[in-house]
Symmetry: D2
Subunit: 91 residues, 4 copies
């Protein structure tokens, strides 16, 4: 797994990195639960295909996603790849 570069993070302006630099986070708001759930099902397909799963939560129209590579103890290119694919689902 490749190291994550400043350029990688700069390419993900909607994600915030935690203070320790070990995970990235994005919060999303949708119109309602249905729209949030349709989106989450698309993210589930990405996660399973990439064998890399988010730590995520949902309350009605809100989805919070945290990405980290637990095996590596921090961020890797697997997180960047998944974050970019998630962003590509959004308008």
């Amino acid at each position: 797994m490749a190291k994550v570069t400043e350029a990688d993070l700069a390419s993900l302006p909607n994600w915030t990195i935690d203070a320790a630099g070990k995970s990235i986070h994005r919060e999303l708001k949708f119109a309602d639960f249905s729209e949030a759930w349709g989106f989450m099902n698309r993210v589930a397909l990405l996660a399973e295909s990439q064998s890399h799963h988010p730590d995520w939560s949902n309350v009605w129209n809100t989805v919070r996603i945290t990405l980290s590579t637990h095996d590596a103890g921090g961020l890797t290119d697997k997180d960047i790849t998944l974050a970019r694919a998630i962003d590509a689902l959004l308008p």
Copy 2:
């Protein structure tokens, strides 16, 4: 269950009625399987909430939906209500 009127059907221009007048049908194309599957999950929520389920199929980016009220042997307001809610999910 109320009868279906001409006005009901006229309000659903993207749906076709079968020759016997017993079901309505809509075919949808999406960008890929992911987009189709996100949509289908939203329709599943509608169907379960309305206790009225479609006869539907999927091949990759294509979704075909047929609505009929089997108990009533044909179309009822349950089909019209679900069809309108499905249409409201689409741009």
Copy 3:
């Protein structure tokens, strides 16, 4: 919305009530993400049908569910009904 009784809570032995008595919580472990996600999709159908949505999170095979009625500032029969329906999905 009806008040929650001791008998209600006693009927849900797999759920824990928070210290303030305002929410109930259950954590579930599955074989893998696929099994967890299949379950979550079934809970989503329940939530939408009951117009009552969980505060929930997922990491791979783990699902954590918290139920509370935000409008009522605590637990109501809506939470008990949803918790029972969730339990009924499990072996």
Copy 4:
């Protein structure tokens, strides 16, 4: 893509091969829509991960799945692999 052998087909006793030998088919019945939909979401994860998608339909508790490799004009090991993974989801 490898050819499909008699041994491959013999390993899938719950699937039927069409007369032309170009697709395999399995029909499943569940307790209700919820159980069917939970299963279909798990198949969706498999399909997307394997980049091989079924031709499938659903009516309430019934799911019908047809597998074929359209690019190859018939059955290949991609169909056998997906069919086995689908079977592994079932009790």
